[in-house]
């Protein structure tokens, strides 16, 4: 076994083995390094609720990727708006959205709400107050605070809109309190085309804000006065801007929007004034708002899209378009609102009774087109236009499947899957040991390598792309044991064929390889094709199954090329196999190789081949 100078005929098995060892160890190290030591479990294994929503539409073309993405975004917003954290919403296939809500707590409310058509309304703002402010408010948080302490409100109420607008000319927003109160109020609504620049440029909006403000002093100053009495415990009352309708006053004072369940619980009829919370905190505080009756319905929005205003430097804004009904209603209500003082000149965009945004109106907007400006980032503009466009989305969602699995059943299912997998593996190992003896050990090693790689890749994918291992995926992995073992069988049988032909082991191993390789590649390709097609066209459970099957089939090729083949090449150099020990599984006698007379005739050219190598 002297080392030949040229490349040995049986290649450099050590290199391939080293490579796969490095890869495997690398994967495992990565798995531990990133802390994703366990695959993420799907709802059916971990417990929880899984909701499958199917899009329906009268127009088949409406079910397309961009519409589905918008809908997914909205649903995610809605689910999370309901106080369900760690819920995940994803699109699957071309018309299905899956909402997975992990175990724990009563998430049934969410399960019920999701899938009902989202309710998007435009309501005039009557009053705004930060919620849950218990400590003395930092100056500047309430808009009244622009001039100093809350107690200064009554008279100051009118001034901020003018002064702030002047003192912050650089701010693109028209709102007086924009610099203090953050973006929500900082948003402005303007007629598109008719007066885009006033709304957009800070300097020119200020006058318009001042204009509205000038009409307002009486309106704002007076109403907020009764709300100002020094409130020691909850300053939010003191910070209330605008008038809360008397019938809601008590409720308004009681609502604490910092609690998710409270935010989700606010509902009210369309034609009456209601209380609603902001969906996201502003400057750390959720806002509570008293809102007038629905002025425009979300479904009357025909189009909403983000755009970048490069001319005036207003940055990202959202363009809105209404249909006929929407145009009329919008013109009417904006005409009324524009004459009001802050905050009652604002318009709340309400999704499922939670306020997404409440821009200020600078003038009547006829013509059905409007722009919302603010210091938006591109994502924010996109997000807001998605919400607005949702009403225009010609999609309806039907709840196709809602499955609630208790954690106990989940762990039972997982256990059953693991036990079945283990037993399946043991059976396969036992079979290959009995049938292939020494070679069986190779298949065991191969299966173990394959199992380690599959496990670590699954764990990593769980952390990386959110791959969740569900029951069918476990099933796929177990079925894959058969596919992996089969590749070994194909190769082993080829080697044995060669040995039966009378070839000595080392050449037999080499000659068997190209033929086995082709068979393995062709059949694995078919299997992979099946998995890929299944993955692409299917939803939910089937997809999990297809994914594992595809992954393990791909790994099978890797293992047989980089592990099994080199390992057998190495082993074929060992005496135990080379001399065909009865337990090696390659005993020529047992395999019934050609009778000695013929073998001797064959041996000569064959051994010549070895020398060549």
């Amino acid at each position: 076994m002297a080392t030949p100078k040229s490349r040995p005929r049986d290649g450099y098995p050590g290199r391939a083995l080293a490579l796969i060892l490095v890869v495997t160890v690398g994967l495992v190290a990565l798995m531990f390094g990133t802390g994703n030591t366990k695959p993420r479990l799907g709802i059916d294994l971990a417990g929880g609720t899984s909701i499958t929503l199917t899009a329906k539409s009268t127009d088949p073309k409406a079910i397309n990727k961009s519409n589905m993405d918008i809908a997914t975004g909205i649903i995610e917003r809605r689910v999370n708006g309901m106080g369900v954290s760690e819920a995940e919403v994803q699109t699957q296939g071309d018309n299905t959205i899956i909402v997975n809500i992990p175990k724990g707590g009563d998430r049934q409310n969410a399960a019920d709400q999701v899938g009902t058509t989202a309710q998007l309304f435009f309501r005039p703002v009557l009053a705004v107050a930060p919620s849950g402010v218990t400590a003395p408010a930092p100056t500047g948080t309430p808009s009244a605070g622009a001039t100093g302490t809350p107690s200064a409100t009554p008279s100051a109420g009118a001034t901020p809109s003018a002064t702030a607008g002047a003192s912050a000319p650089g701010s693109p927003s028209a709102s007086a309190s924009a610099t203090k109160q953050g973006r929500t109020v900082g948003e402005a609504l303007a007629a598109e085309g008719t007066s885009p620049s006033p709304a957009a440029t800070g300097a020119s909006t200020a006058p318009s804000a001042a204009a509205t403000g000038s009409a307002a002093p009486a309106a704002t100053g007076a109403p907020s006065a009764p709300a100002t009495p020094p409130a020691a415990a909850d300053l939010s009352a003191a910070m209330t801007q605008g008038t809360v309708p008397p019938e809601l006053a008590a409720a308004f004072a009681a609502v604490d929007c910092s609690k998710p369940e409270v935010r989700a619980a606010q509902t009210g009829p369309e034609d009456k004034a209601v209380i609603a919370c902001s969906q996201k905190p502003e400057n750390g505080y959720y806002e509570k708002l008293a809102l007038g009756p629905v002025a425009v319905k979300g479904k009357d929005v025909s189009k909403a899209q983000p755009s970048l205003d490069t001319q005036t430097g207003a940055g990202w804004q959202v363009q809105l378009q209404f249909n006929g009904t929407g145009t009329d209603a919008f013109a009417k209500v904006t005409g009324q609102l524009a004459t009001q003082a802050p905050p009652t000149n604002q318009f709340a965009i309400v999704l499922d009774n939670q306020v997404v945004s409440h821009p200020q109106v600078n003038g009547s907007i006829p013509g059905g087109s409007a722009v919302i400006t603010g210091r938006f980032t591109q994502t924010e503009a996109q997000d807001l236009s998605n919400v607005l466009g949702y009403g225009a989305l010609p999609l309806e969602f039907a709840k196709s499947d809602i499955t609630t699995v208790s954690p106990a059943l989940g762990s039972d299912q997982l256990k059953a899957g693991l036990v079945a997998g283990l037993i399946g593996m043991v059976l396969v190992v036992a079979y290959s040991l009995i049938y292939y003896r020494g070679l069986g050990l190779v298949s065991i090693a191969g299966l173990i390598v394959s199992a380690i790689m599959t496990y670590s890749i699954m764990s990593l994918l769980g952390g990386g792309i959110g791959f969740a291992l569900n029951l069918p995926a476990v099933c796929g992995a177990i079925v894959a044991i058969g596919i992996t073992a089969d590749s070994f069988i194909v190769y082993f049988e080829r080697i044995r064929d060669e040995v039966r032909e009378g070839a000595p082991l080392r050449p037999a191993v080499q000659r068997a390889w190209p033929r086995a390789r082709r068979t393995i590649l062709v059949s694995d390709f078919v299997s992979f094709l099946c998995a890929a097609v299944l993955y692409v066209v299917s939803v939910g459970k089937v997809q999990g199954f297809a994914f594992t099957l595809g992954l393990t089939t791909a790994l099978d090729v890797v293992v047989i090329f980089l592990f099994t083949k080199p390992l057998i090449t190495l082993l074929a150099r060992r005496k135990f196999f080379l001399n065909g020990h009865p337990w090696s599984g390659l005993d020529p006698k047992r395999l019934g190789a050609r009778p000695p007379l013929r073998s001797s005739r064959r041996r000569n050219p064959s051994s010549a081949a070895v020398k060549e190598a």
Binding site: D401, G424, L427, Y435, V490, R518, T519, V526, L534, V542
Partner: protein, 362 residues
């Protein structure tokens, strides 16, 4: 096991040979009967699970709760007289139709209350009426796409005849599996559909391996006059028979584990549904790749003019060989001049392994 191993050797050397290809009429009739029965079963209709009909299912685990007790409780909650069954693992399954006016939430919480179990231990599944249709139409789309792709692939990798034969075998397997479901009345669930779809891959996998050997065995076949295509194909089939059996056993072992262990611990469930379909499909797949796909392939190939010519030559050669038997006796070639009825393997398909094989030279 050593006898089996020995069989492998004897099969390989052609000492023992099963004439699969020659008996194609037998296989065709067996398959025909099975498929016919399956078709009758299908015509009778499949027993579709709730996923295909719509409605809701609640599963409650409470020791000592009998079906009749549960029925009574469930009737108090649900107006539309739900179907109450006990599952294999001692749980109670309450199936409510789509007509139920109460929301699933209400039903679930009221059931929990009436039966007296914590809410989060009540499993619930609510399925819209069109969901099953969607799953099946998706599965069908997948099936068609896959069949087209795989036919194209096999036609390129092998040849169109092999693609056709493999496709027929595939449809054969699917029909048998679905037919068994229809006849026995197993419930068809999305899990079962997954199982059906997996059979696609597996059935073809097996067929592909067999065809690979057949292809190799029939390479350069027209250059000799000792074996017809059918005989050469059959020889290949016999050589790979042990592998086919081993593959099937190895594939069936984990599936069987899944079926019996998964079913044993959990009762009916996804694991069971997938593995049952797989189990039937795999068995059918092993049979069809040997007894349906290859004979069919041979039949198709024998229609080719050059294969017809080959058959003629082979028959002539054999007739001549019979006459001058004595003259050739003792020669090594005698091995190959076997009577037509016995499919000889000793000689292997001539020329198939000649390349780069000094040892093939005799």
């Amino acid at each position: 096991m050593s006898r089996f191993s020995n069989l492998g050797h004897r099969l390989y050397q052609g000492e023992v040979s099963f004439d699969f290809v020659g008996r194609r009429k037998l296989w065709y009739s067996i398959s025909g009967v099975i498929v016919l029965v399956a078709a009758i079963g299908l015509a009778m209709g499949l027993h579709l699970g709730i996923e295909f009909k719509g409605g809701s299912v609640y599963t409650v685990a409470k020791p000592g709760l009998t079906v009749s007790q549960a029925q009574e409780k469930a009737d108090q909650v649900v107006s539309s007289h739900p179907l109450v069954q006990s599952t294999d693992n001692g749980k109670i399954r309450i199936q409510v139709s789509t007509e139920e006016p109460k929301s699933s939430d209400e039903v679930r919480s009221q059931l929990a209350e009436k039966i007296g179990v914590p809410l989060d231990t009540v499993e619930a599944q609510v399925i819209g009426p069109s969901w099953g249709k969607q799953i099946s139409s998706k599965a069908l789309t997948g099936l068609i796409i896959f069949m087209i792709l795989v036919t194209v692939y096999l036609a390129i990798a092998f040849e169109w005849r092999m693609a056709v034969a493999a496709l027929v075998a595939l449809i054969h397997d699917l029909l048998i599996t679905i037919g068994v479901y229809a006849l026995v009345g197993f419930e068809v669930t999305p899990g079962t559909v997954i199982g059906f779809l997996t059979i696609l891959g597996y059935s073809l996998y097996d067929t592909v391996v067999v065809f690979d050997t057949v292809k190799e065995n029939t390479k350069g076949l027209t250059k000799q006059n000792k074996l017809t295509y059918s005989e050469a194909a059959n020889a290949g089939l016999n050589q790979t028979l042990v592998r086919s059996l081993n593959t099937t056993v190895v594939a069936l072992l984990p599936v069987a584990a899944l079926l019996f262990i998964g079913g044993g611990i959990l009762g009916a469930g996804t694991l069971n549904d997938i593995s049952l379909a797989l189990f039937i499909g795999l068995a059918a797949g092993a049979y069809s790749s040997i007894c349906v796909a290859t004979p069919l392939l041979a039949q198709l190939k024998e229609e080719q003019p050059e294969m017809k010519a080959l058959r003629k030559r082979v028959l002539q050669h054999r007739a001549a060989a019979d006459k001058v038997e004595d003259a050739v006796a003792g020669d090594e070639l005698a091995d190959e001049g076997q009577p037509a009825g016995m499919v000889g393997q000793r000689g292997r398909a001539a020329g198939t392994r000649a390349k780069g094989r000094p040892s093939t030279k005799r």
